[in-house]
Amino acid sequence: MEILNVILLLFIIACSIAVALNKNLLSSVIIFMAQGLAVSVVWMLLQSPDLAITEAAVGAGVSSILLFAALKKIDAIRKKEEKAHEQTKA
């Protein structure tokens, strides 16, 4: 159990650093999602299953989906072909 805890905590630290340092906003959000899942497992190991359920639904699910939607609103996510098309046009 101790080893699993250490691995999860190291994973969370690595994820949070990667979220901050990543240049691509989309992959940042995906890493944030992975971090939320790891945190929910840690809640489970700390014997608070109710928090684990909430974290899995809100931290890993809804909040990252809202971030995706916001990225879409500011046009930070685009299809690859569209981008290539624009580059050829320019």
């Binding site: 699910g61 809804v62 809202l66």
Partner: protein, 321 residues
């Protein structure tokens, strides 16, 4: 809708269509991108608007330049790094001073904890002490939380909603932008959603209804339900979900649930705020119909949270239910 709001909205769309280079390249190298955005001619804007926009862009550019000269100084970077390191050190120091998890001399042994552990089951009839505390002794906090969620949603509705919009063009534009990004009838997503959605819904309802017996409660169950609604809408689109969840449903459910919660809690506050007295008995702890008002309150909170989660998502996606 007022003309002012429509103008603001179309201005935003214009900006998104024409001057979005600044944000598209993952926001790196903002200065050069901003310059490019300022040079892009704005197609649809009138001459007056264009003039104003160019002035805005120039001002923005100037601001950016001053900011760049600021952030280029060596001491700025040094100070930022020092601030970051000291914050991390402070947090680590605080974390070291926390009582050991599961230790004998921790807060577990305080008077308050002992009171809760001894009395919650008898007084509220809840097997899950956490739910007993947050919906009964501390019910007022949870009421505030639900209202904060609802107020946040109201803000988003005011800003992004196009419900009841008279301008047909604006609706079509929002529709086109939505279809541009969301694939219709994605086979993998639909197959996964067909299996997952019922399970997610049943799990959410189970968490809400069983909140006073097992871990979970209104908030967690509501969040799971909201996530299920989002998944369903993503896979099958607006038409399918409008068969059972429209703006009217959303309005009725969330307002009724909040009103019920406020009335129950207001009554409780009015009568001395001791702990929630109700005509309903506590029943035998462990039964599904026990715990007095806890079960209805859990259902109310769950409805509010589920509606809020789904409402936030649709507002961000298209601005319409």
């Amino acid at each position: 809708m007022s003309k002012q709001k429509r103008d603001a909205f179309s201005g935003l769309l214009n900006w998104l269509e024409n001057g979005d280079d600044a944000l598209s390249d993952q926001m790196q190298d903002t200065l050069s991108d901003d310059e490019r955005a300022a040079n892009v001619p704005l197609k649809k804007a009138s001459a007056k608007k264009r003039k104003k926009k160019n002035a805005d862009a120039r001002r923005k550019k100037n601001e950016n330049e001053t900011a760049a000269s600021w952030t280029d100084r060596w001491w700025y970077k040094l100070l930022a790094a020092a601030l970051c390191v000291s914050l991390i050190a402070l947090l680590l120091f605080a974390a070291l001073r926390l009582p050991k998890f599961g230790g004998a001399e921790t807060l577990i042994d305080s008077d308050l904890t002992r009171f809760y552990v001894e009395h919650t089951k008898v007084e509220t009839g809840a097997m899950n002490i956490v739910t007993g505390i947050i919906l009964d002794y501390r019910g007022f906090d949870t009421l505030g939380e639900s209202h904060v969620l609802f107020i946040a949603l109201c803000g988003v509705l005011l800003l992004l909603s196009i419900y009841g919009e008279k301008d047909e063009k604006l609706r079509l534009l929002a529709d086109a932008r939505d279809r541009n990004f969301e694939p219709k009838n994605d086979l993998i997503l639909q197959c996964a959603a067909r299996i997952l959605t019922p399970i997610v819904f049943v799990f959410g309802v189970y968490i809400i209804l069983n909140g006073h017996l097992s871990p979970g409660g209104g908030f967690s169950g509501g969040a799971v339900l909201g996530a299920g609604l989002i998944l369903y809408q993503n896979a099958f689109g607006y038409k399918k979900i409008q068969r059972f969840f429209t703006y009217k449903t959303f309005r009725a459910v969330s307002v009724c649930a909040l009103l019920f919660y406020s009335l129950a809690k207001g009554y409780h506050f009015f009568t001395g705020a001791n702990h929630l007295e109700s005509g309903i008995g506590t029943g035998t702890p462990g039964d599904i119909l026990s715990g007095g008002l806890l079960l209805p309150l859990n259902i109310a909170v769950g409805c509010v949270v589920a509606c809020t989660m789904y409402g936030l998502y649709t507002m961000f996606r298209k601005g319409e239910f």
